[in-house]
């Protein structure tokens, strides 16, 4: 537990005065994500601790440097959880990094993304001012939704100091079933189930097997199993955990790893490489050496976008934006960080 906000604010102010960029980090578990940043390190990991947690209000507020496992453990003790099931990518993962990257795990398609659970935040903007937006209540439309805008901004708009999140109760029980199918059939099935009120909380297709996680009361799961079929798989928690932490064998390749985000019912895309589908088909991982332009063109055709999740070389990590959209993004960057102090270039060269 420590409050180092004044120190962080001082560091930001001197960076603004000297116009020297900062590379914001905590425990660096997500430093692979986005372009490398050249700048003086600004370490927020010392700013940590849970500030409020009210199980009956379904809200937790913690400082950005709070380790994710600490938060999850605290919630678990009250039978609650972060419903977006964030990947950690290392024991040391922090809340701030998770929100800044807007990372969500297998439950995303069924419960919402990190940004959906953000209720409020405190941040330092690019003028070294400490500001607070949103709050600790579920419904709040006073002012623009700055808190959600921070999710996924990769620290380029501000230094997150505190985040308030909506939390949810854990389900009474969980079960995973496995079915053998083709890729096209897997997509069809996942989308078919999504049109029915079924208690599905995760899906994954690894090229041969379709994994479906069910959660709820035991009787609910029993009834859903009749609709879904398949074989029961025993140790489910560790399996889904490995998947979200990218410790599944699929992710062990040294080739570039792409993340494609598209309409869940898009038929299989013809690009060479190995595929793994999640989120009912809306998130597709591709391990491939296909040229970036080819991948991006293919995904644009179906109105999606592609991120070079892991991989090196001189390739844009995030999907290039149309000029009119880039202009708005640049203007927003300017609104928060006029001197371009925070993580310049981590997301796009222009911001």
């Amino acid at each position: 537990m420590a409050d180092i906000s004044e120190q962080l604010q001082q560091q930001v102010r001197s960076a603004v005065d000297s116009r020297r960029p900062l590379s914001i980090h905590a425990r660096k578990t997500k430093s692979f994500y986005g372009h490398p940043v050249e700048g003086t390190p600004l370490d927020v990991s010392g700013h940590n601790g849970i500030l409020h947690y009210e199980p009956t209000e379904l809200v937790i507020t913690a400082r950005a440097g709070t380790p994710l496992p600490v938060i999850e453990q605290t919630l678990a003790e009250e039978g609650q959880m972060l419903a977006f099931e964030p990947p950690h990518f290392g024991e040391a993962a922090t809340l701030g990094g998770t929100i800044a990257c807007n990372l969500s795990g297998p439950r995303r398609a069924y419960a919402g993304a990190a940004r959906d659970f953000v209720l409020g935040c405190k941040l330092i903007n690019g003028q070294g001012e400490i500001l607070q937006f949103g709050g600790e209540v579920m419904k709040n439309v006073a002012g623009y939704d700055v808190s959600r805008l921070m999710a996924g901004a990769l620290g380029t708009l501000g230094v997150l100091l505190e985040v308030s999140l909506k939390v949810l109760p854990r389900a009474e029980s969980e079960q995973t079933v496995v079915l053998e199918t083709s890729d096209a059939e897997a997509i069809e099935r996942m989308n078919g189930w999504a049109r029915k009120p079924l208690p599905i909380t995760a899906t994954c297709y690894d090229g041969a097997s379709l994994y479906v996680r069910l959660a709820g009361t035991q009787s609910t799961i029993r009834a859903a199993r009749k609709v879904i079929g398949g074989e029961e798989m025993p140790p489910t928690r560790t399996w889904w955990n490995k998947l979200k932490e990218q410790q599944h064998a699929f992710f062990s390749s040294s080739k570039p790893l792409w993340r494609l985000s598209l309409a869940s019912n898009t038929p299989p895309i013809k690009l060479d490489g190995k595929w793994l589908y999640e989120w009912g088909g809306a998130q597709r991982w591709l391990v491939s050496e296909e040229p970036a332009e080819r991948i991006r063109r293919a995904v644009e055709k179906v109105d999606g976008h592609a991120t070079l999740y892991r991989g090196a070389g001189n390739i844009e990590v995030f999907h290039p934006l149309p000029e009119a959209m880039m202009k708005v993004q640049r203007n927003l960057k300017q609104a928060f960080d006029p001197e371009r102090i925070f993580n310049p270039g981590r997301m796009y060269k222009q911001i």
Binding site: K139, N140, R170, T217, S261, F336
Partner: protein, 495 residues
């Protein structure tokens, strides 16, 4: 400028505008006579009225682009309007500006049951989306009580909620893509067909931005499968505190009801007199708890919730056994506003949100203020998510009563902020709560909001004067509210 000089410039601008609009749009889509403008003089908050220079009713995106470009060229403010059901004066016209009505954008462009989305024009009514999706067993979850009338564009602009948002989220959680015309007349596609998009989350920024950042010309919403079963429980309490406690107890038990609503004595009475839903008149509060999901889950939860309600001191617990009875239970709640409208010449609907644990304290202080201002209050409350709708009963024909009501309302909102809540949960700031924004945010935060506005609308032509107060306005408002001899904005002179 003298008043007459000002008037004559305005009238020339007006004439030029109307002439140029008529070159862009068929004559019947440009309204300018006082008689034609009157229906647009206010939104659902009728205490605020103004006539715009003109009303335009485009029906293509290209027309919207041209209208906005023209307004930008002539430096004329543009106020977008959906169905005009807003309760905060968000769609109140600007007297030197144009009112851009999206009423003609009323087509459902596509319902895609495979992808579970509907692509609609912004003027489509909220309920019409669920009706169009119903044949596929799907629906659009956010259900504001105004859903038969309000438009989806207005819902996005306000981030509208509803009775079911505790479980299914607000508008921001249920939309996937927007098409927005910027002040440059540029058409932006925000979001995408997947669950996320590259770059900053403009979908979140646009949602709830009250027409200040762009004109929404198309919305793609997510559709959900209709739950297999929904059942509602009605519980009566002889003490509001127990009812509040019961809400916490249900949630602590790991149950997220689809809806969890509370009404107080006056609201129960008014609703019962109006629709005869069979509410326990005389109870201090009732809770309506709707549980939905699979058949098995609902059975299990109904049993559990009944136990919890009894243990929390409910004096009566009823479960609706049929769909007809369920609708009947809801009827009173849904008619609560008009019901209150029957017992009082006027009422003023507030919209604060508080952390639920402060409910007893807030209700008590509100009751005290009600005595102090000599104005009765009926409470309707989205209890699950802490969103209060106190309805202040008043008579606009009695001199000074509206002013007293507004002051009382403002005090309620300040109380919400004091206990860690917010001045608006779902109705937006608009014109109405602009002063209370100065209570919730400090000068630095407001300045950041203005910077965001400036990023998208540098000339400040989109719905100017709403949602975010100028620091000057706060200083004036602050001066009226000097606490302990201290101005709330001592740092103001720095700006």
């Amino acid at each position: 400028m003298s008043t007459t000089a000002k008037q004559s410039t305005a009238s020339t601008t007006r004439e030029i505008l109307i002439r140029r609009f008529k070159a862009l749009l068929p004559a019947e889509q440009v309204l300018s006579s006082a008689e034609d403008l009157h229906p647009y003089e206010c939104d659902g908050l009728s205490a605020y009225r103004k006539l715009p220079l003109a009303v335009v009713l485009p029906d293509t995106i290209e027309q919207v682009q041209k209208i906005v470009e023209l307004c930008a060229e002539l430096d004329v403010p543009v106020v977008a309007r959906g169905a005009g059901t807003g309760l905060s004066g968000g769609a109140l016209p600007h007297d030197q500006g144009v009112l851009l009505s999206l009423a003609r954008f009323n087509r459902i462009l596509q319902v895609d049951p495979q992808q579970r989305v509907a692509r609609v024009q912004p003027g489509v009514r909220n309920l019409a989306i669920s009706e169009a999706a119903a044949p596929f067993g799907l629906y659009y979850a956010p259900d504001p009580s105004s859903q038969i009338a309000c438009s989806i564009g207005g819902n996005v602009a306000e981030n509208a909620g509803g009775v079911h948002c505790l479980k299914y989220g607000l508008t921001v959680h249920n939309i996937q893509q927007l098409k927005v015309v910027t002040i440059d007349g540029e058409l932006l596609t925000i979001g995408g067909s997947g669950l996320d998009a590259a770059g900053y989350d403009l979908l979140a920024l646009m949602t709830g931005s009250e027409g200040m950042l762009g004109v929404i010309v198309e919305v793609t919403v997510k559709l959900l499968p209709k739950p297999e079963r929904a059942q509602v429980i009605l519980a009566a309490f002889d003490d509001v505190v127990n009812a509040g406690q019961a809400v916490g107890n249900i949630i602590s038990a790991g149950i997220i009801p689809a809806g969890l609503e509370m009404m107080d004595k006056l609201a129960i009475q008014a609703a019962e007199d109006f629709v005869h839903a069979g509410y326990p008149v005389g109870a201090a509060a009732i809770l309506l708890c709707e549980l939905d999901g699979t058949n098995e889950e609902v059975s299990a939860h109904v049993y559990q919730v009944r136990e919890i309600l009894n243990q929390s001191g409910a004096t009566e617990v009823r479960t609706a056994d049929s769909e007809a009875e369920r609708m009947n239970f809801w009827k009173g709640r849904k008619a609560a506003f008009p019901a209150v409208g029957r017992i009082s010449p006027d009422y003023y609907c507030m919209d604060g949100t508080i952390p639920r644990k402060h409910l007893p304290e807030v209700l008590r202080k509100m009751a005290d203020m009600s005595k102090e201002y000599d104005l009765p209050v009926a409470n309707v409350f989205h209890a699950g998510d802490g969103n209060l709708h106190p309805l202040i009963l008043y008579d606009a024909n009695k001199p000074g009563e509206l002013e007293r009501t507004e002051e009382f309302g403002g005090k309620i909102l300040e109380l919400c902020v004091e206990v860690g809540g917010t001045i608006t949960g779902e109705h937006g700031v608009g014109m109405e709560k602009i002063n209370q924004m100065c209570v919730q945010f400090d000068a630095l935060e407001l300045t950041q909001f203005h910077a965001i506005k400036n990023a998208l609308d540098p000339k400040g032509l989109l719905n100017p004067g709403k949602a975010v107060p100028t620091l000057h306005r706060c200083a004036e408002f602050g001066a009226m509210h000097v606490h302990h001899g201290e101005l709330p904005f001592p740092e103001l002179d720095r700006f």
